[in-house]
């Protein structure tokens, strides 16, 4: 299991990661937690062509700004086939 932690923004489309830490104020952490983005959650990068990135969390697509995606740290999950 890899323990490298990278910003969510660095995930490529299709890749998944486990949220480790959210670097931000109380309000942001709370708002993200409401939408299912909290430490321990599994997120999948869906689209990051331009502007906000689209991620998938527990079956729901959420668009978040790039700056915020940079401050969400995730541990990439490598799927062994």
């Amino acid at each position: 299991m890899s323990w490298t932690v990278i910003p969510l923004l660095m995930l490529n489309p299709g890749e998944e990661g486990e949220v480790i830490q959210i670097d931000g104020g109380w309000g942001i952490v709370r708002r993200l937690a409401e939408l299912g983005i909290y430490p321990g959650a599994i997120v999948r990068m869906m689209n990051k062509s331009w502007g906000p990135v689209v991620i998938l969390v527990s079956g729901v697509r959420i668009a978040i700004g790039r700056g915020m995606a940079r401050r969400i740290l995730v541990r990439p999950i490598r799927r062994s086939l």
Binding site: Q21, I22, D23, G25, W26, G27, I28, V29, R30, R31, L32, A33, E34, L35, G36, Y38, P39, G40, A41, M46, N47, S49, W50, G51, P52, V54, L56, V57, S58, G59, V60, R61, I62, A63, I64, G65, R66, G67, M68
Partner: protein, 682 residues
């Protein structure tokens, strides 16, 4: 008759309001939660000899006291003890929704899970094992669809069954794992016997470990509250949350200083994670079929593409625009013709019956007001229809994403653009749509730029005047350039305000992107109707009143236009008009746009006389017409918008700043347009 109180809980966007409407029909009323600005909706229905009172709780994602909505929802459940809580969930995003179900089960036993939108889930090949889910959760689970009216009878019968105790519930008790349970157990034991304002000791213990502010407050107020809290340190190591340790601003730090470390993690994180894992496992056990539609992904590849996305957006908006203003105009012409025809018949009939003064008011003012309103209703309806189709299909959320980059220049994020789009229909809902913005500063900027977006009423008037002076392709160009001017001013104003306002910059965009779907006629109509109704209410009263006032002002005291009160006012303002090349008649017409922008045409037909078209063509050069339109487009918002700005900013200062700014800007732009135009043409 036996009475039952039912509370509807659920995430936002799960069709909770649709179910509420389906249950209560027209027997509903709206109030605010005591002392709060959050809306509280209640309704009553009768079923099988029971009077069922339905309370629509605010939409929440969780039940921790992070937001006002969450506090109100859980206080209602604990304090007013509804007989049954119905959790309305979206069948297509069950995992997300079950997170709330699990929390509701910790708060009360009498929960029913209503799997709404089951028809949508089925059409996507999602199969939910309802009986298994019900067994696992220990509560009744009803598959239903509020829009298709499936399962509503079953839901009502179950509500009665649960409230009568005939349907037994045995809610699932979550175990948070040995280590955590030990701490929860000890804390619960300490809290037993105290008055916890109606909450269960275990629940309060859990909430404290989650860092819930309200639970902390309850415990602090207990006689030995502080002792209980500090005893937590013997249970584990109380730590400052490392997730937020580097937050400098004291106020922004979370109040959860009682987090306990277990291994490498914190209790607040562990508790939330446990619930999530439980939700995930429940979905694994009971849901079969595609969780995600790949079709939405394919569409998003194009719609959110770097280059294609904005192009698609431009095409969608251009066609929406053309649709609204050609189809709308066509229907409007047809209606106006019919109404005018009918009025001329009525006029002939009334001529001998009524005293001259009343006859003049009715034919001169009331009828022309009705014609004005009638000619604009189709435009407004078309606009809101198209907007609702975009909303219901899921495209509107993507628009916020695409526009996010552009809106950053104004210091706003993509959601603010939705209020700009709304403003193209009408500035009143436009200003109200800024409520979706979290930061006060962002809201203020969005509210101040909103009146600069030309609403459908203004665009309608502009299109009419443009058609008098320009034709064919040239007319389209003129219209486009006018709208470009207004959008440029919106951008410029936004950029300046962004520099001026130092306050806290709003957070970045966070928005849920729903799956694309075919808009249903029912949904679109349900979304459109309240918007149209609101417009009609305003238009009906304001325009009617305004037209009568104009008529009076231009008839009294002399009966001659030029020497009437209105004429005198216009003449007094003529010097200002002079710098823009506009005479007193044009200026006076504009003044009446204050009541409603459509009013300007009605005012012109009174001021210039019945042969408006011919007279305007004779007395204005195309440049004067263009200048008039520029001024008309920018200057002060109508009275309904002003009232809305006042209500939403809660400040007369900002309201008057908005008013002064738009008027000054209009005069400046008018003077610029006229004088530059003159220079070029000479």
């Amino acid at each position: 008759m036996k009475k039952i109180v039912v509370a509807l809980a659920g995430n936002p966007n799960v069709g909770k309001s649709t179910l509420f409407n389906a249950l209560t029909g027209l027997r509903q009323y709206t109030a605010n939660w005591p002392g709060k600005t959050v809306e509280r909706k209640e309704g009553i229905l009768e079923y099988m000899g029971y009077e069922i009172r339905v309370v629509d709780l605010p939409g929440t994602y969780s039940l921790t006291a992070y937001s006002l909505e969450e506090v109100l929802a859980r206080r209602f459940i604990v304090e007013e003890k509804p007989d049954v809580v119905v959790h309305v969930a979206n069948s297509t995003t069950l995992e997300k929704d079950l997170y709330l179900t699990i929390q509701l089960l910790e708060l009360t036993d009498k929960v029913i899970l209503a799997l709404n939108m089951i028809d949508v889930a089925e059409s996507r090949g999602i199969k939910i094992d309802v009986r298994r889910l019900s067994k696992e959760l220990g509560i009744p689970v009803i598959a239903m669809s509020a829009t298709k009216k499936i399962g509503i009878g079953e839901l009502l019968r179950t509500i009665i069954g649960v409230s009568e105790g005939k349907v037994r519930t045995k809610p699932l008790r979550i175990s948070y794992g040995a280590e955590l349970e030990e701490i929860i157990g000890k804390l619960t034991a300490k809290l037993r016997g105290y008055d916890l304002t109606g909450y269960h000791p275990r629940w309060v213990a859990l909430k404290i470990l989650e860092g819930d502010p309200e639970a902390l407050e309850i415990v602090r107020k207990l006689p030995e509250g502080d002792a209980i809290l500090s005893s937590l340190s013997s249970l584990g190591l109380p730590v400052t949350c490392p997730l937020l340790a580097d937050e400098k601003d004291e106020r922004k730090r979370p109040p959860c200083s009682y987090c306990v470390r277990i291994g490498n993690s914190l209790t607040c994180v562990l508790i939330a994670t446990k619930r999530r894992i439980l939700a995930k496992n429940l979905v694994k056990l009971t849901v079969r079929g595609p969780r995600l539609r790949t079709r939405s992904e394919m569409v998003d590849k194009i719609v959110l593409h770097k280059l294609l996305g904005p192009m698609v957006l431009l095409c969608v908006f251009a066609s929406a625009f053309i649709l609204v203003f050609t189809a709308g105009k066509w229907i409007s012409d047809l209606l106006t013709m019919g109404v005018e025809e009918a009025f001329s018949l009525i006029e002939a009939y009334l001529a001998g019956l009524l005293p001259p003064l009343i006859y003049d008011i009715i034919t001169g003012a009331v009828f022309s007001a009705i014609v004005t309103v009638v000619s604009f209703i189709p435009l407004i309806i078309m606009f809101f229809l198209v907007y609702s189709v975009m909303e219901d299909s899921g495209y509107l959320a993507r628009v916020a994403v695409i526009m996010d980059r552009f809106m950053h220049a104004l210091g706003l994020h993509g959601k603010a653009f939705l209020s700009v789009i709304m403003a193209f229909g009408c500035n009143v809902p436009g200003v109200m749509a800024t409520r979706a913005l979290e930061s006060e500063r962002d809201r203020l900027i969005a509210i101040l730029i909103n009146p600069l977006v030309p609403c459908a009423a203004r665009i309608g008037v502009m299109a009419f005047i443009v058609s008098l002076f320009f034709s064919g392709f040239k007319a389209t160009l003129v219209m486009l350039s006018l709208i470009m001017i207004s959008l440029l001013l919106v951008a410029l104003t936004g950029i300046i305000l962004n520099r001026l306002f130092r306050g806290e910059r709003g957070r970045e965009l966070i928005i849920e992107l729903p799956e694309y779907r075919m808009p249903s006629l029912r949904n679109v109509l349900l979304l459109t109707w309240p918007r149209v109704k609101e417009f009609l209410r305003r238009a009906g009263t304001l325009i009617m009143l305004g037209t009568v006032i104009i008529w009076v002002l231009y008839t009294f005291p002399t009966g001659e236009m030029e020497t009437s009160y209105g004429g005198q006012l216009g003449k007094a303002l003529e010097p200002i008009g002079g710098i823009m090349g506009l005479d007193w008649r044009a200026i006076t017409s504009l003044i009446f746009g204050l009541l409603a922008k459509e009013q300007v045409l009605a005012a012109m037909s009174v001021i210039y006389g019945s042969e408006l078209t011919r007279i305007l063509r004779m007395s204005w050069t195309p440049l004067q017409a263009f200048t008039f339109l520029v001024v008309f487009m920018i200057y002060e918002p109508c009275i309904a918008t002003i009232a809305t700005i006042r209500r939403e900013t809660n400040s007369w200062l900002w309201t008057s700043i908005s008013l002064t700014y738009t008027i000054a800007l209009a005069i400046l732009m008018g003077a610029l347009t006229f004088n530059i135009g003159r220079l070029i043409s000479s």
